[in-house]
Symmetry: D2
Subunit: 335 residues, 4 copies
């Protein structure tokens, strides 16, 4: 039975604790949070779990084999590094760290000690994203053309990161899993409406080789919640709406057909093809449940992380490039 410590019991932490409680191969030994009321709630619900306001209590606890970190982004690096140095396997909330240099160091710290370092890109473990990955990989999808995502709502303003690091990170992690390509450049624009605070609305374009483009629209000031992604292929197109309770993934048999006109070789005829729509059944197992089990199996040596530290690093690099571009009003930054 793997002993687990969880640091951070705010928005996401309770989900981590619950899933580590339910996994048959793990048990939650202790939880750390700075807010005493939250710890009282844990003791009420789970009387056998230890609580503390000092993360070091977890690092030095020999019953703890692995640490899950769900704290503000600017604390990720220190906590993950110290956990690794204490010999604990680490699952860290997205984004893995505040800078790519930090992410690189964490990867190195883990590798040196032969520890598992995984970043919590939860969406990668959903049935919907798994299905999209399959569909895009199939020959029937044709050539990938674009990836376009909106993730907006009236959201919790973060103080330590802008809206790209908070919301677009989800889209980047999904995109990174679904698309077998790496972006070559980024253009981003955005704005903060609160003086002195990070940007709360942002738009990001990623350029790929081979006529592929991606776009991400994120906003903490939207009156409505939108979670919609279009993935365009030359023969199939996907709409992924995460707010749909069923039918999250829809696959359209649509596209264009380009033919040369017989009388004028310079002019192309572009016609439309509209076929059926298909919405495959996708697994509804809670993503975090699968992820927790996967993390355990990686520690047990039975699996290789689907979202290793390198994965988190790649995305932090895209976010850094986006920040740079945003400060230059959209000027493309090479990756």
């Amino acid at each position: 039975m793997l002993g687990v410590g969880v640091i951070g019991y705010g928005y996401w932490g309770p989900n981590l604790v619950r899933n580590f409680m339910m996994d048959a191969g793990t048990r939650v030994v202790a939880v750390c949070d700075r807010v005493e009321e939250r710890l009282a709630e844990i003791r009420r619900l789970y009387p056998t779990v230890k609580t503390t306001t000092d993360a070091r209590d977890l690092f030095r606890n020999s019953d703890i084999d692995a640490i899950a970190i769900a704290t503000p982004v600017d604390t990720h690096f220190d906590l993950a590094r110290d956990a690794l140095r204490a010999g604990k396997h680490v699952l860290v909330e997205k984004p893995i760290a505040s800078t790519s240099a930090q992410a690189e160091q964490l990867i190195e710290e883990a590798a040196r000690r032969n520890l598992v370092l995984m970043v919590d890109h939860t969406f990668v473990f959903t049935g919907a994203v798994r299905k999209i990955q399959e569909v895009v990989a199939e020959e029937s999808f044709g050539k990938l053309q674009y990836y376009d995502s909106s993730r907006v709502n009236l959201g919790l303003f973060q103080h330590d990161v802008n809206v790209l690091w908070d919301l677009a990170v989800h889209d980047l992690s999904i995109m990174d899993f679904v698309i077998p390509l790496s972006p070559v450049a980024v253009s981003a624009t955005g704005l903060s409406h609160v003086p002195g605070q990070p940007a709360n609305i942002a738009f990001m374009t990623l350029f790929f080789d081979g006529n592929v483009i991606a776009h991400i629209n994120v906003n903490w000031l939207s009156p409505v919640k939108i979670r919609r992604t279009l993935v365009g292929g030359s023969r199939r197109m996907i709409v992924y709406d995460d707010l749909e309770t069923s039918e999250k993934v829809k696959i359209y048999d649509k596209g264009i057909t380009v033919t040369e006109t017989p009388d004028d070789v310079r002019k192309l005829l572009i016609s439309y093809r509209t076929g059926d729509l298909w919405s495959p059944k996708v697994s509804e197992t809670e993503a975090l449940r699968l992820e927790v089990a996967h993390f355990r199996e990686c520690i047990e040596g039975k699996a290789k992380p689907v979202t290793p530290g390198e994965c988190g690093l790649a995305i932090v690099r895209m976010l850094e490039a986006a920040d740079k571009s945003m400060s230059r009003r959209g000027e493309a930054v090479e990756l």
Copy 2:
């Protein structure tokens, strides 16, 4: 009774003809199109209307006082200029011309002859856009923060213009009507998936003074049709969904409240306010019907054009800047 000639009877032309037929103060004298079958259809439906494949027949027809032009963009300038030179008032499809230089010349031609030159920005005449304009102008809306629009579908590929000139032009005309500000710079990205053809997917950011930003997402290769605009204010937020049959405009009493923390002046507390939603009844009168009547009243000297040539010029300038930025992968272009 004002005599009207219509050039172009493809997608939009039939709507122009029908509305000029129904307006009590205008009558359709003649219609010009290059396709003989379309002319046959007109003669069948409206036996009193003359048909021709030569636009010059309309220019020299003294029964015709005004000409409406609904042809491909790259023919707008020649046709509008010749119509004005023949002393006819002109209503020209959006965008008004292929370049700002052409638009400027049309404005000058019309002014010199004291003729009405109007651009057909139809959405400006819808009940929904009129209502949005009112709401944004009210003090209760607070300070304008952003304008964010998506206009995507599996669309008719244009050969002479890219997707910005075909679709974003609608958003720009609505934005121009609703927002009492002029953009100062544009960043755009996009791509063509058909070699040698204009971009079929594009993303455009407009920067305004005073912490206002606008964004437009257009795509001819989307499997689904989306027509959704968010307009954010500091005290109210609007969602405009043109595909809703009723409730096209929804106004949310939502926002954030920024306060200084008592103990740390550098740290701001941002809290959320969520109130009721209100969807005002909007006029359902066909926009083109109102526009046709307005065009007539302008010719009769009873009104000033809501969408004069200058309006069309302003938007062509934004589109030109976007094209320039797109060719530089998002680098901002000043306006």
Copy 3:
């Protein structure tokens, strides 16, 4: 070229006129309506069409071969009978007549003169209903289990018929086309909220042999428009939403599996099967256009009516039974 006369130019008449104008094998000779302004509108749009306020002008016009009737229900019988007696083929708006006795007489009048008598059950000519009929007929659909439809909106109150005769008649005509069964009994309930007026809200259950049931919910006092039908089969289930712009028909691979429990033969195990969703492309050709062409082909002897007078009669009988049941607060009435 078949000469057509249209009686009634209110809500539906303009669609009839337009489609008879566009059909290459028919021409509209004359239109009759009691309201002079409507006739003026016709003369304006279609200067070659004669107009009159006296239906007899159409009956005695030898250029007219067929008459389409789109007037209030209580005038259907007299107009259709007189048209048939004048030797005209007849297409009559739904419901075909106010009583089954009248419908029977019309069928007889047409048969005696070898004239086409067709009832305008427009939905039967839509791509959606055609597709549903195909799917239900396929073996993969399994055994039909139920048909459940809602058709509500803030609607035009009729003075001569209740909401069943106005709205449920659509559902009955679709059901009659899609389901290869005849109901054996009807139970209906409903109410009028305006004293002295026909019921404006009603609910109707139809019983069939073989464990099949149908239900129709109609309402003129609903704040929202709903047009949704569920058709349940033992292996497939259909949702038909006529307000969807695309994807009107969705087919679900869902159902239950009933097995006997090994230890207790009296107890059945009912488990669920949830598979993919499939939305087939359906023809978007205007239904009335196909219907008008079909009516012409029936007159030309090239086809047999899909919706003959007998079809209209069957539905009037269901409506009469429903009225009877409604007056007895739901007591079943045999058919």
Copy 4:
């Protein structure tokens, strides 16, 4: 601190346990279920809670003051009676019992011992239903006209009760709370598609004095989940869609205006009024959390049950009448 025992840990029981755990004035002493694996799960999550397969262990436990029952309907009566006889306060899942005679006896048992007997009509504690009740009670709503609800999905077939007792019971409990009227008669129709099993599809009409009608459509064999209720008033109309994540309640300023025609006193003019739509913010507090607190306050003598046994009895009477009517194919049964 009130000691609570929970009987039944299937679908609903875990919610009861969780909420009694979280309420500051109650604690869960013991849980009873027949399935040993469920009890193991409880011990895992809540190590301090006792578990048993024998309900009598709860009745005789003096640390337990109140018992919550979430078991199959046909066990409600025996368990609730025994709990009351053991001097425990009782919260019992809906419907309160299998027959009105049983419900009456439970009410009497509770009254005799001065114990709280409450039925778990959870929806009555939702922000949405509370808001609807307020709106209907306001003068601006006008006169109540109808209540029409659909509650369908591919559902868990019950063996001991039909779909009315499983699903319509929710609608009846909401209706009973929202409408200040008692039905005078019931007509119901329905069918079972599995031989020997209770009806899985049913339609129920309730007649009230004063021209008010209610209708409920329930179905365990629907491919889609629908939870929609229309409440019509003469001046306002409500749409309540429980599947909406926000905007569950929409209030329409719509209606009809009935006037006498000046020239013909027998003919009424009915015209339409369409105004704005308003969606009030409703509380999102978990209903069961409020209900658990309310139950506790009733036991503490600080409140009177909103959903006392009498409330459960009234609804069981409606369900019994519906069963009787259904067996007679819709014949109305007086209440």
